[in-house]
Each structure stands twice: as C-alpha cells, then as structure tokens.
Symmetry: C2
Subunit: 791 residues, 2 copies
C-alpha cells in the first residue's frame, strides 16, 4: 500500500480537535466557571486551588487524536495506555470529546453545564486524580506509580489477536527498571494468536525537575537502544503543529502498514520468526502550546511546565490576562457550539461506538469475562488412606489440575513466573503446553514454543505486569513465584489492590478475575538456598489492603491446596495469596475432608485431638501452613505419648483471615466461633508459617488473646535442612512441646522430665546435623500414628 | 599502547589456575573427604546430600583468573561483584586460592585439612550458601536475589577514582528490571572523580530451565542494545579454553587501555563529555568443563548444568566413576603440592596483599569508614516562641542542615532520590551542590553538573542500589523518596537488612554507616496526587526485620526532624526510616526540648496535658507522626475547652520502637516505663501515622493494651485536602474527640452534647469542602492556644 499524506483539510480538522482537547485540559486545571469563555475571564472563574499537571498533557492529546484517525481509517480495535505520570487531563478530555465519558457519567453532559462539572471535579477534593485512574473510561492503567505501562499493554494483547494496545511511554517512566526490561516483551508475543503493542515513546525531555536520560543520549544511541530491544523505531520530532501533524500521520500510517504486513506474513507462515515490530518515538516540547514564559521564566519545553504553569491569579493578578490569553489561544469559539457541544465536523473525527478508545470493552475486562471451564479438582486428589501418609510434594499434586485448567481454557488462562514453574513443582503443565517463546531456539531447549500458556521471564515485575494486563482485559491467570522474592512486586500489588478497590465501587466496571499468587519454595525449605531466600512477609503486606480485596490461604496438604486453588480460580476481584510446599510431605486429609475443611477455612482436627465432644481442652495446639502443621502434629504425638491425660485440641487454619474479627474482614469468625476453637482461657500454642506478630495483629481483640503463644519465623536461618530451619526459629516439635509444658503447670514432674528430655534431644540434633548434614533418622522417618480412637 | 598477546606459557599457567579453581568448585559441591583425590574416589568421600550450583561457576572462575592478571600487570585496585545467581563456589574457590579466605578463616587453612573443611562447609547445614554472601571475603553483593549487581558496582566506585568494580552480570539477571535500567548509570559517572565499572556480561545461555533473552537475540541486536545503553562492548565467545584465554586476555588489555585513555583524557579536559566506557561480553558454555552428558542427557552448555550435574553416586553407583573422571580431568596433582597447597608457580599469579580482590578494603567498607563531619543541628533549628507556631515545612528546615553535611563531606556523602529532592523540600542542597549529570545539557536545565552530590534517576531501584554500594564501601548517604513508592524497593531493603544482620556477626567486617530513608510526601498530604500515592506500610515491612537493624522515627516537627536526622547520620549498621512532612505545619518544640524529646524517643508533653504531677489521667491522648500530632493537639484543645475537668495526658512518640517490649527491641520501654506513659487502665486514644494494626502488633503484650484505641490509615482517600484525608480515615480531631467520649462515660451529658456538635461539624466540613474545595477557615486557621498553666 502507498503512503499518501493526509489531505490538509483533514489535518486542519485534527488540529482543531487537538486544540479542543488541550482547551479542555487547561480548563480542568484552572476553570471553576465560565467554561466556554463566553465572557471575559474573571478571578471568580478560576479555581481557588490550582492543582494538576500540564506538562505531558498536550503530547498525549496529540497522540490520541492521531490514533483516532487510524482507528477510523483502518477500522482498528485499539486501547490507549497512558504511561507518563499525570496524563489525566488528556484522557479525560479525550473520552469526554468522543462521548464515552458522558455515557458513563451522564451528569458530565456534552454541554456547558457538563463542561463546568468536568472542569470542577478534576484534582478537586473527592473528584478525580490527575492520572488515568479507574474512574476514567478506557483505562486499564492508572500510572500513579510509574513503570508498568508496557507490561500492561502486553498483558492486554496476549490472546487478543485483533487488539492493538497503543502505549504511551513517558521518558521519565522509561528510566524505571520495570519499563526498561518490558521492551523485551516482544520476545513473547505471537503475531498470529496475540494482538499488537504499539509503543509510543514520548520524549518531552523532562521529569519533575530533571532532564530525562533518553532525551539526552542523542538520536543515534536511542535508535541503537530501541533496535537492540528488537523494535523498529519511527521518529517524529518537532514543535510546529502543522508539520508535526503531517509527520505523525505518516508515521502512524507506516506503523499500521508494517503491523498489517507482519500479521499477514505470520498468518501465512505460521509464527516461527520473531518480527521487528514498529514503534513511534515522538519528540515534542513538554507543555506544548502552553505559555512560552511566565514571570520571565521559560515554560514551554522546560520542566517548569510539569504542573501548573501559571500560578494563582488571585495571588498574582497579572497572571489573569496571561491565563485568558492562553485559554483563548485555542479559540474555543471555533470548536464548540453555543451550547458547549463539540462541533459536528469535529465530533465526526472520533471513532464510533466501541471503536472509541474510551468504550473499547477490552479496557473494561469484566464485560468480556468468561468463567473458566474447570475440571473437578477431586479427580486430582491424592489418596490419604491414613493421616500422615507421605505425599509427593503438594504443588506436584496441583500441577496436573492446573495442566487441565490450561487445556480446557486454551485462550483464556495463562501461568506466569520467573523461570520457576518447574522448580515450583508444576512440571505437569508441560504435558499439555509450553513456555511461550519467540526467541531463537537451540536443540537443548525444552518446553518452548510459539503458543505456550506458560510465561517465563526472569523479571517478577514483568510477570506481574503481564498478568495484571491479562486480568484487566477479562482473562484469568496465576503467578507462581518463590515466596521470598514476591516482595519484588510489593508495590505493584499495592497499585493493583487499589485499582480493584476503586473499580469495585464503579457499577459500570463489572468484576474481573482474581489475581492469584502461588508461593511455593517457601521460607521453611532452604536446603540449597539460604538466608537471602527467606522472607514470609508478603502476607503482612497484603493484609494491610482492604479486606474486600485481600485473601490469604495456607493449605496444610495437597488435597487442601487443590480445594483452595479451585476456589481461587473461580473467585472474582480478589487478590488470593496461596502458600504451599513443593517437597514430599505428610498428607492429612482425603479429598472430601479437605473440601470440607477448606470450605470452613479453619477447624478442629478431631482425629488429632484427644478429647471427646463433651470434654474441654487443657491446651490448644494450633497450626497454619504445611510445615507448622507437621511440627504441631509431631508435637501433639509427643505430648499424647508422654502425658496421656492431657486434653489437646488441634486447630488448623487454612484461611488466615478467619482469625480476624468478623467486622474487620468478611471471612472473620464471630467471637463465639473463635472461642469455640481457641477457648477463652486455655493456653494456645500456635505454630505459624510467617512472622508471629501477624497472628497477634489479627487476633488482638479476641477473648483469649493473651494466652495465644505464636511460634513463627524470626529471621533466623541459613542454608540448612527443613527441620533445622524450624529449630533455628523455635517452631519445631520440641520447642512447641516445651512451650506447652511451660504454659501447663499441671504437667508437674512428668512435664519437667519431658522438657529435659527434649532439651537433650535438641542437643543431639545439633550434633547429628553438624556431623552428617542431614536430620536424625527419627526426624526423617517420623510418621503420625495416634489418631483419636474416639473418632 | 600496543596490544600484545600474552606469552603462551603465561596463558598455560593461567589455565592451570583456572583448573585449580574449577576443581575446588566441584569439590565444594561433592566432596566430603579425600579432597586431593590422593586415593581412588570412594562413595564415602562424597557428601550425602549434594547441593549447590555448577552452571555459572566455571565462567566466573575464568573471569576472576583473568582479572587477577590485569590487576597485577597494571597494578589495579579492583573488586569483584558476582551478579549471577549461585556463583558462591567460584568466589570461595578464588579467595581461597589467593589466600584471603584463610587469613580470615584460619581453620580453612591452605592445606589438605583446610581443603576438606572448605569443601564440607559449602551448602552444608549451618555452612555457607551458594552465593557471594557476607561470609565471603571481597564481596559486597550477595546476589541471592538477582538484579542489583550493576547498581552496587556503580555505588562502589562513586568518589573512589582509583577503584575499578569488575561486575559479572548474568544473562538471567540481565532480564530483571533493576539490571535493565542500571546500564544507564554510566550517565552519572564522572571519569575524573569517580572510579570505573567494568561490566562483564556473561552469556551462558540459560537461567534455571529456560534460555535467556540476551543469549538469543543475536550478536547484532545485542551490540545495538549495549551501544544504545552507551557502552563499548568487546566480545569474547567460544568454548575452547586455549583460544578463549587468548581472546579474554586481549579483550581485557583493550578494556584497560580504553579505561586509561578515558581517564587520562578526562583529567586533561575536565569531565565535560560522557565517555563510552568499555565492557566485555563473554559467551561461554553453561557448566563449562563439566560433564558433556550424564545418563544420555547433554549437560555442558545446557540448562541441565545449572545445579548438580551428576546426581548422587549413592543412588546411582554408575555416577561415581563419572564424578571421579570429572574431578581428575582438572589434574589436581599438577596444581597442588602433596600437602594440598597450590603450587608456588600458580600462587604467584594472584595479586598480593590488598590488591587481591578478596582483600581489597573497599569490599569491607567498615575498614575505610570515616565519621561524617557534622554541623551542629541546633544551628538550623527554627524558633518556636510558642507551641503551635506555624512552620515552613519540616523538610524545608532540614534542607540547610543536609546542605552543610554535603559541604563538609565533599567526597563521603551523597543524597539519592528519584527526582523528588526538590519536591521533598530539600532544595537548599542546591545552594552548595548539583545533581550529578554527565548527559547532554540544555539551557533550561537547573542544578545539573558533573560533580554533584545529589543522585537523581527515576528509578527507586537504582537509587537504592547505588546507595547500598556506596555504604558497603564505607561511605554515607541518604535516600529521599515519596512514602508510597518506597515499597518499590521492599525486597532490596530485605536483602540489605539481611546482609547487615549476617555481616554484623562477622568480627572481621567492621560496621558500616546506616542506610537512611527520608520519606517525605507522605500519605496524609494528597493535595494533588490521590489514592495511588497513599501507602504508609513500609514501616510494617521494616519492623519484620531483626530488631538489631531496624529503626523507625516519626518526628512531630522540624526541630525533632533535625535531631533525629543528626542521630541517624551518626549511627552505624542500622536501617533508619524517618518520616516527615514537607508542608507548612505547626511547630511544637524548641531546639532544646526537641533534642531532649528525641533522645528519650517518647514522652509526655506536660504543656499539652492538663494534669499536675500528682494527678492521674482520665485519658491518654497519644500521637505518632506530624499530622497525627496536629490532630491530637487539636482534639485535646477541644476536650479541654468543652470538658475542663477531664484530666488528659498527652504522649508523643518519635521513636516507634519504644513501644515494643524491651526484650524484643533494644529501644523498647520497660513495662514500668510504658505504664507510666499509657497508664494501666485508662483509655488511650492513639493517633498513628500508618496502619493502626502496627501499634497493636508492637504493644499487644502491654498491660493496658486492651484500652489502646488506634486511629490510622485505613486505605480510604482520594485526591483531597490534608484535613479531609484525616476525616476520611477518622484520624481527625473530631473523630478523636468522639472516640474519647465513647470511652469516657463519666463525660455524661456534656460529652454527648459535644459529640453531637462534632457530628454536625463534620457534616459542615463535608458541605464546605464539596463547595469550595478547601478546608473550612476554622480548620485552616486553628492554632494551639491552651498550654497547661501549671507548666
């Protein structure tokens, strides 16, 4: 196809549309009243407090207007991702002009009254922030925290072969680590079965008060960098609107044609070669079309245009005419009719219906969400003929279940992880799928292919960002990760949880699938890693977020893991954190018991306890997590053998949030139910997977709280055996028993003797492990053998 | 200078040295006994449990041997940073061979007995992990979590003009975001006053089970990428040892000459142009020199060589001869004498004394640490003629103090931040220094220069990594950041805190300067940001780490901030988190009172309380953080006016860890001291800066815990005024008073009336803010005016 410059009258119309959007953007920052400047600007027309960000806005408006043109011309399905910080005025102006804003918010109507409200709400208390927040139609990316736009864009187009995600990347944002590695996502994109990401690197030269790196390395280095990342950059640079419109239109035509060529060629050939996708580099002045100077300070093209270029006319009366001049420079009277509606000739430039980027359903994923086709998890359960039978590793049991979820949902579910999927015990996935990989291949590679459902890149940021984009556009997924290193995405989790909270309050945004974490390779197994790989604190971080969003599960064995994961994959609009082991470990519950236990989330294990219904316990031995459950049951068996008259109640916690008060978390137990499990006055020895203080934080209001004694991770550990890790942190069976004895004076002489014996045992353990480097046979070979005869 | 290939006999010796180090590396993974293979390998000689990582090791050994050669030849001061995961066997072998290991650990002697211990401790319970952990001489970078090697390398060489940090970067690690952006650090390096980073990108092709991106994009794209990042790559590729030795020696000669040329030219010209520094790309097989195949599976050059290539001979007897063959392929009898000491001719290849990379004092920064020259913080204090006088913004008072710290320590102290230094109120720094910047300049830039002490890149990872490298090599610094976004480096904080814990237990590693965070732009001021910028949870994350490391300060005003920062900058081996405001806010304490209050860390404010020494309080109004202090004092003044007979004790907390039990944190108050502040039975209304549960977590064991009612951040907020943020989260003065009344039935009718009045006030507030977008005048203009007449 031939590249023909657009007719100048069309470019002139586009320039008017751009002026209209810039006018609305300045209006949002400044105007309280007189939205169409139908009378001279008065002090009273200006907001009392001036907030917001101008710098990035005109460039993003420029891009949006040009994208509208190619959407119409080529009938594209496109979404807009606003990566630079504070592009809110642009996306709000654009979705207002195209009409999608007023459809969702009818009170922000397409007339003078609506305009006035549009202006007022911006950066106004209780109004809308200066980012592309969930309230903004067409957005899947807020961008308050920078660096994730390109990852979100890729996540959005995976398995959406008709979709193009136009992703504006700020040159500030481009300095972040997550963005710097996200360019490499093109090695994972299938040109046949996936859609397309069109990055538009927006070089406006400055961050808040600094130049940006990419704007200052020169065109040659920048081109090398982008080509080195595997892209084909098309450069558009300048400040004269007319020539910039021409150049941008040509660049986008070129990009569309290259995209179509790549897609066509790939469809013919299959998708065996990684293409060099086009991208745009747009270099335009920061604060473009804004005031050149204010009070003698240069504004346009400098970092001084970052926020509000003309400060308060109330404090500086000479600023009022400057502001009026700036606003009138867009000639609103040529753009809007007397009622404040965009002129029909201009409105015609926007795409129609769902082609409008503010109305594309891909940017409101809940609209498109299909439930997963789910296999029956019980068919994957392991046999548990007796409590404590040795398993193969809990995540290894989960693997075949996830394999079948993948098989049943070939275009709707992906598994993400930083090259730990096999290490985390999920190798069964590769029975049915591969790792998605468009890079070069080598004969020694395994499980790589151009249509894999497993996404592995050694970047937790990338895994998280891709998954978020995939979920936000209405699909399902799972992130599997080492427990310690999931902290790498703490801040991305924050932003996603915040997005979910706000989106959940918007009736026009239906719920999306939950973000599911499977944290295997956890703190208690450090056989060949060490202290650097130990941190169970992600759940502390998660529970700080809204209780309507945060869910934490610690299944004690494989069948419980299956049940929990089945629940999580069916759930909506949560963040589910599931912590599970991958090493061979004892199994406690058969599939029916597991389903029942997980549905309750917490419960007494009567077979492990030694009291009848009618009896009351002397002590509660509670546990949460696979290793704590093992150590607790081993402690219980020591206690039951040595002190048979002691009445022990064993409580296992799967759903951590059951512990919190019912008015603090929807899963929280009533005080009555809690007391039935933990008593109101008996000692509770609680073995917990993570930092002990989390249990105190969740239970501090409970009746018996002062008797809850939590054992957990204390930042003690090195490279050592699984059991020794528990000893170093005093969560092993021996320390649990010794603690129980300390809390139970009635155990008397027998208790004291037992404690001494266990102290000796710990010494023996230390000597043995120092000598042989493995645990004593009695530890390795211990099996539960004392079910309650009553049960 | 001419590049002359090394004499072949020298290369032959280097090859032997390499073989020796590879032999020791395999020995660490496998051998329990028979360390010199003086007799045939028996099953008993092999460790029972085989752990560790071979894949990256031979390549790192190769690099180290070649670096030793250039260190000697050019008399370089160089440190070695082992970026790829699990390079432990290499750095341990190398430091053992050069003698630095045995100097620190004399029991690991340079003989057969020492070798046996060296082998046994590796990946053995309680031994050393498979990374370059703190226990390893010459290391400043553990690399358990990947991605920070290059940032650490740059941090190490800032202000160390004679130092070269040789930084091995794994091709897996290179996929992480932090590493991907760290390449751009060359824009911040001054070739005159800073040292040099020599990156060695090690392409061994595979991560755990996947190919790496950079190994599969082809040489042309890779060269473009690295040149685009601003480097001059020198490629060395192959697998034949002889030709690889020749190529690597030539490449390193070339790199040294280019470095010397750049440094010489820069010294002549000043440092106005950013040079293109050399770097090495080493492409060698993963698991180089290891077994080609095992059980028919290819090993060398594939991901199967990642961990232990030959699995247990105990379980697979046919593996024993394979292992012996592999070990003997290095011909240990040609390398070590009969006592197990490296032959003299080989030992000669290592540098001497502190030129050995395991002994370079820069890698043990405490050895070089000089105390900061400190100005008297009291000279920067603001006048506080009466309690509650309006200040200019607390960090704005801190700015001149930090400015003088910079001026007094021109080569020993830097301030890091992601372009927020001015935004965070520290503009005074630019009175005396600039932002370090070697990029191109523009006439509109401000405060940029080639020798600035302020390091700004829009990457929190980069700021943190640079600062860590700077501190670990014995200097001082401060990271200023928005509070919400410091979560971006949660996981880097973890790793640094873990490093400090372990290093603190090693007598040969003297303490280093603390890592100081200044978190301004905090959760309570969202005037022009919004929900995405709100997260006060970093301190929750920090207090999970060892109490010997973690310190958290929330100064209530500017003079307290000065006192706290003075303390932090003088402290050693901690992580200090300081949270402070930047907006104009009331000031409470003059410089003497502030110093006294901060030294205590917590205390009653008698002037704000209304009880005599002899009286006991009816209620404690406690506060921690600047905004909570303001709201608490406003609440106290409402209570004192409306209910003058109520006896109120006001407690302010600066040092958060004072709240924890004394046996849990060295700063913790005794129960007696705590009870004196918080009573044993009276209601405590506690206004806290962050998530309320943190206070419960710290105080759950205190006598009066059940009466402590905490107000804090509840994930409620949007873009709004400072006061409205407190209302949305119910930590404002009105909610505090209403809560107090609820806890004080004795306030009776008067209390109920006050509560009703405040409910009405909150309605009025909501109406006012919706109308005008700012707080009611009575809020804006409120000033404390009711000092206790008794004081």
């Amino acid at each position: 196809m031939q590249r023909v410059p657009l007719a100048s009258h069309q470019l002139a119309l586009m320039d008017k549309y751009w002026r209209a959007s810039n006018y609305l953007s300045v209006g949002q920052i400044y105007l309280h009243n007189n939205p169409l400047l139908t009378r001279p600007l008065a002090l009273d027309d200006v907001k009392r407090i001036l907030l917001g960000h101008w710098g990035t806005t005109p460039g993003q408006n420029f891009i949006y207007v040009h994208l509208n043109r190619i959407i119409k011309q080529y009938d594209l399905s496109m979404i807009f991702i606003s990566g630079p910080g504070h592009g809110g005025p642009a996306v709000v102006s654009q979705t207002y002009l195209e009409g999608s804003y007023s459809e969702i918010y009818p009170e922000i109507s397409q007339d003078a009254a609506g305009l006035q409200k549009l202006f007022k709400q911006f950066s106004f208390p209780g109004g809308i922030p200066s980012h592309a927040s969930p309230e903004c139609p067409g957005s899947i990316h807020e961008g308050g925290e920078l660096g994730y736009s390109l990852s979100h864009a890729f996540g959005a187009v995976f398995d959406n072969p008709e979709l193009i995600a136009a992703c504006v990347i700020g040159d500030g944002e481009a300095e972040t680590g997550p963005l710097a590695t996200a360019w490499h996502s093109n090695k994972f994109l299938n040109p046949v079965s996936d859609g397309v990401v069109l990055p538009i690197l927006h070089l406006n030269g400055y961050k808040i008060a600094n130049p940006t790196i990419l704007a200052r390395i020169g065109g040659e280095e920048l081109e090398q960098l982008l080509r080195g990342y595997g892209w084909q950059p098309i450069f558009v640079a300048g400040s004269d609107p007319k020539s910039m419109h021409e150049a941008m239109a040509l660049a986008l035509d070129q990009a569309v044609h290259e995209i179509k060529d790549i897609k066509a060629k790939a469809a013919q050939q299959g998708a065996f070669e990684r293409p060099r996708w086009p991208m745009i580099v747009l270099k335009s002045p920061k604060g473009w079309t804004g005031p050149k100077t204010v009070d003698g300070v240069p504004i346009e093209g400098t970092f001084h245009s970052h926020q509000v270029p003309i400060s308060s006319p109330a404090a500086h009366p000479e600023h009022l005419p400057l502001l009026e001049e700036w606003l009138r420079s867009y000639r609103p009277e040529e753009l809007f009719d007397e009622n404040g509606r965009l002129l029909e000739a201009l409105a015609e430039l926007a795409p129609k219906g769902n082609r409008r980027m503010g109305a594309n359903p891909h940017a409101n994923g809940g609209l498109l969400l299909k439930p997963l086709a789910m296999p029956d998890f019980k068919e994957f359960a392991c046999d548990v003929p007796n409590h404590g039978v040795m398993g193969i590793g809990d995540t290894h049991v989960l693997g075949p279940f996830l394999r079948d979820v993948v098989a049943l949902n070939p275009d709707n579910f992906r598994v993400f992880g930083p090259d730990e999927t096999i290490s985390n015990g999920l190798v069964a996935l590769f029975d049915t799928t591969q790792r998605q990989w468009m890079g070069a291949n080598d004969s020694n590679d395994e499980h790589l292919g151009p249509r894999g459902r497993v996404m592995e890149m050694l970047s937790e940021h990338q895994c998280q960002g891709w998954l978020e984009g995939y979920l936000l556009t209405g699909r399902h997924g799972l992130f599997n990760c080492y427990e310690a290193f999931i902290h790498i995405i703490d801040s991305m989790f924050n932003q996603h949880a915040k997005w979910l909270k706000v989106a959940g309050q918007l009736p026009w945004r239906p719920k999306i699938a939950s973000l599911n974490y499977l944290l295997a390779s956890h703190v208690w197994r450090q056989d060949h890693n060490g202290f650097s790989h130990q941190d169970p604190g992600f759940i502390d971080h998660v529970v700080n977020k809204k209780s309507s969003i945060a869910r934490v599960y610690l299944p004690p064995d494989a069948n419980c893991l299956l049940s929990v994961m089945d629940h999580c994959l069916r759930s909506r609009h949560y963040v589910n954190v599931v912590i599970a082991g991958k090493h061979a470990a004892p199994q406690w519950l058969d599939k029916e018991a597991a389903a029942e236990h997980c549905a309750a989330g917490i419960g007494i294990w009567p077979w492990a306890s030694n009291l009848d219904q009618a009896q009351s316990a002397d002590v509660v031995m509670a546990c949460c997590g696979d290793v704590p459950t093992l150590e607790t049951l081993a402690a219980v068996s020591i206690l039951r053998e040595a002190l048979p008259t002691l009445k022990i109640q064993v409580v296992n916690v799967v759903d951590l949030m059951k512990l919190q008060a019912e008015y603090e978390h929807p899963h929280g137990l009533s005080d009555h139910a809690f007391d039935a499990l933990f008593t109101t006055d008996k000692p509770v020895i609680f073995a917990f997977h993570a930092y002990p203080s989390l249990i105190h934080k969740l239970t501090y209001q409970r009746t018996n709280h002062s008797n809850i004694h939590v054992h957990g991770y204390h930042e003690e550990g090195t490279i050592t055996t699984a059991f020794d890790m528990t000893v170093l942190n005093k969560i092993d069976r021996f320390h649990l028993v010794m603690d129980a004895i300390d809390r139970l004076p009635q155990t008397g002489e027998k208790g004291r003797a037992l404690k001494q014996a266990l102290t000796d045992k710990l010494t023996e353990h230390r000597l043995y492990i120092n000598e042989f480097g493995e645990d004593m046979p009695e530890i390795r070979e211990w099996r539960w053998s004392c079910d309650n005869a009553e049960q």
